[in-house]
C-alpha cells in the first residue's frame, strides 16, 4: 500500500486534431502542410492492429478527440483520482520527429513543444503538469537549437528523444551535440521506447520486422537496450559527467542480464573501447534511471522481486510511470503491491525528484491541490 505523493514520469498527451498542431507551425511550413492536407501524414502510420481496436485504454476514448487529448478526462481518470503531485507530459509518442522530410520533422517538433507549453502548461495552469521537450533527431543541429530555444523553460523537466532520426544507436557521436546542450541546461535525456519502429534505417527488433503486436511487444525493449548500451560503450557519461539518462517504457526484468552481460565482457572488450574507464554497471547505477512501467508479471510475485534484488540497488533506479492512457498502463496500487514496501517512497517519488530538472520556484509547488483520497 502506498498513499504518499506520486511523481509520474510518463503521461502521453496528444492534440485533439492535427489542425491543432498545425496551428503552431511556422507560417512557411504551415502553408506547405495545409496545401497538402489530405495526403500529408504528420506522423508515421501505426503498424499493428490492436485487439480492441486501439492501443489506449478503452475508457480514455471520448467524443472530442483521440485518447490523451482531453485535459479534463486526464484529470478525472488520473490526476485527480490519485495523489499525483507531478506528471511529465511525453507526447504520443513523438513520431513527428521522424517523418521522411527532415526539415518538416524539425518544424513539427518545434510546433509540438510550443503546443505543449501553451495548451497543456499555460492554459490549464495546473501546477502538477510538466512537459518534456521533444528533440528533433534527424538533424542534430536542429535538436541543439531546440534545446537552446526552450531548454530553460521552468516547466520543461527533460529533453525527450524518441525517433531514431539517423538510424544510429543513440550513444553514437553524431547525437552527442544534443547531449552537450541538454547537459548544459541541466536537463536529463529521456529515451522513450518505440522510435526505432519508424523507417529511418534502424530496426525495432533484431532479426527482422515483427508481424503482430504480440511479436512486436514481446521483445520490445531490444532497441532501447541497445541505445542504453551505446551510451556506455561510446563513453557518453565520461564525456558528459553530469548527464542523466531516463529510459522509459521497457519494463525492468532485463536489468540483471544487461548489467552482468556488459560487465562480464568488459574484461576482454575494454581494449577496443578504452574510453569506457569504469565497469559498465557503475555507469548504469550512477547515471541511468528506469521507468517502472510496464512492470513485468511473474507467476509468483516474489520471483520478480528476487530477480530485481539479484542485481542490487534497483530501488534507487526505478521511477514510477503510469503511461496513461496506453493499454498497458500501470495502476499505482498494483505497482505498490508488486514491489517491496521499503522501495515505494523512492520509486513513487524520491528518485524522480532527484532525477528530473524541476523548477526551483517554490511558489509553484505551494499551489499543488490537496491530494485526492488515497487509493
Amino acid at each position: 500500500m502506498y498513499d504518499g505523493p506520486i511523481i509520474d514520469i510518463d503521461v502521453h498527451h496528444r492534440w485533439t486534431s492535427e489542425q491543432e498542431l498545425i496551428d503552431y507551425l511556422e507560417p512557411d511550413w504551415r502553408e506547405v502542410v495545409e496545401r497538402q492536407r489530405s495526403s500529408v501524414h504528420l506522423e508515421p502510420p501505426a503498424l499493428f492492429h490492436h485487439t480492441r481496436g486501439s492501443n489506449k485504454r478503452v475508457d480514455a476514448h471520448y467524443d472530442g478527440g483521440p485518447p490523451g487529448s482531453s485535459y479534463e478526462l486526464n484529470c478525472e481518470q488520473w490526476l485527480d483520482a490519485y495523489p499525483v503531485e507531478r506528471a511529465v507530459l511525453t507526447y504520443d509518442i513523438g513520431g513527428v520527429s521522424v517523418i521522411p522530410n527532415p526539415f518538416l520533422a524539425s518544424a513539427l517538433c518545434r510546433a509540438a513543444n510550443d503546443w505543449s507549453l501553451d495548451r497543456w502548461i499555460a492554459q490549464p495552469n495546473d501546477p502538477r503538469l510538466y512537459s518534456s521537450l521533444l528533440v528533433p533527431t534527424q538533424i542534430p543541429a536542429d535538436g541543439v537549437r531546440e534545446i537552446e530555444r526552450l531548454g530553460a523553460h521552468p516547466r520543461i523537466v527533460e529533453a525527450l528523444v524518441v525517433g531514431n532520426g539517423l538510424g544510429k544507436p543513440f550513444g553514437h557521436p553524431l547525437y552527442h551535440p544534443i547531449y552537450a546542450a541538454a547537459a548544459e541546461h541541466g536537463l536529463p535525456i529521456a529515451i522513450h521506447n518505440g522510435g526505432d519502429l519508424w523507417n529511418t534505417g534502424s530496426q525495432y527488433l533484431g532479426g527482422g520486422m515483427p508481424g503482430t503486436r504480440f511479436e512486436f511487444h514481446s521483445a520490445a525493449p531490444q532497441s532501447t537496450i541497445h541505445h542504453l548500451a551505446s551510451f556506455i560503450t561510446h563513453g557518453v557519461f565520461e564525456k558528459f559527467p553530469t548527464l542523466k539518462l531516463v529510459i522509459v517504457e521497457i519494463g525492468v526484468a532485463w536489468v540483471p542480464w544487461f548489467l552482468w552481460k556488459l560487465d562480464s565482457q568488459y574484461a576482454t572488450l575494454r581494449r577496443e573501447s578504452p574510453w569506457v574507464k569504469r565497469l559498465p554497471s557503475e555507469y548504469f547505477y550512477e547515471h541511468v534511471r528506469l521507468s517502472s512501467q510496464p512492470l513485468e508479471v511473474s507467476p509468483d510475485k516474489n520471483q520478480l522481486i528476487e530477480l530485481l534484488e539479484s542485481a542490487g540497488g534497483l530501488e534507487n533506479i526505478l521511477l514510477f510511470a503510469s503511461d496513461y492512457p496506453h493499454w498497458d498502463t500501470d495502476d499505482p496500487s498494483y505497482v505498490a503491491r508488486q514491489l517491496p514496501r521499503s522501495w515505494l517512497p523512492k520509486v513513487f517519488y524520491q528518485n524522480a525528484l532527484e532525477t528530473l530538472r524541476w523548477p526551483s520556484d517554490a511558489a509553484l509547488l505551494d499551489r499543488v491541490p490537496a491530494a485526492a483520497a488515497a487509493v
Binding site: P173, G235, T268, R270, P274, W275
Partner: protein
C-alpha cells in the same frame, strides 16, 4: 630461490614463453629491459593465460581516442582475451578480484632468473587447480 631459466636472447621481446619451474607452469616475458614471470593459469576459466600474447596497454581519454601506454605491458589470455598487467598480475580492466600470481624475476649478466618458490609436492596443473577451486 632464483633459478636460471635461460639466456636473455632466447626470449623474444614482448612474447610470453611458458616454462616449467618447481612443478609450476610459468610464463616469462622480457620487455624493455624488464622481465615478468606470471603463473600460466587464467583465473577466469583456468586457460593457459601466458600461451597467448603480450601487448602494450591501450587507454582512451575520449570516445574514439586511443592511446598507447608504453609503460605497461599486459598479458592477453588466448581464450577470452582477458588482460592482466604483466608487472603486477592485476586485472587490466579495473578493480577486480581476478589476479595472476606473479613471481620475482630479473636479468643478471644476460641470464634470466626466476624465483618460483619451493618445489610443489604435486604438479600444480590447471586441472588440479580447477578441481580444487572453491
Amino acid at each position: 630461490m632464483f633459478v636460471d631459466v635461460g639466456a636473455a636472447e632466447e626470449f623474444a621481446e614482448g612474447r610470453p614463453r611458458v616454462i616449467q619451474l618447481a612443478g609450476r607452469e610459468i610464463g616469462v616475458t622480457l620487455w624493455q629491459g624488464e622481465v615478468f614471470a606470471l603463473r600460466n593459469i587464467c583465473p577466469h576459466q583456468y586457460g593457459p593465460v601466458c600461451g597467448g600474447y603480450a601487448m602494450p596497454m591501450l587507454l582512451g581519454d575520449a570516445d574514439g581516442v586511443l592511446e598507447v601506454d608504453d609503460d605497461r605491458l599486459v598479458i592477453v589470455c588466448p581464450w577470452h582475451g582477458w588482460e592482466f598487467d604483466a608487472r603486477t598480475g592485476r586485472a587490466a580492466w579495473g578493480p577486480s578480484a581476478y589476479r595472476l600470481k606473479t613471481f620475482p624475476a630479473r636479468i643478471e649478466d644476460g641470464r634470466v632468473l626466476v624465483d618460483a618458490g619451493p618445489a610443489q609436492p604435486a604438479a600444480k596443473t590447471a586441472e588440479a587447480v580447477a578441481g580444487t577451486a572453491d
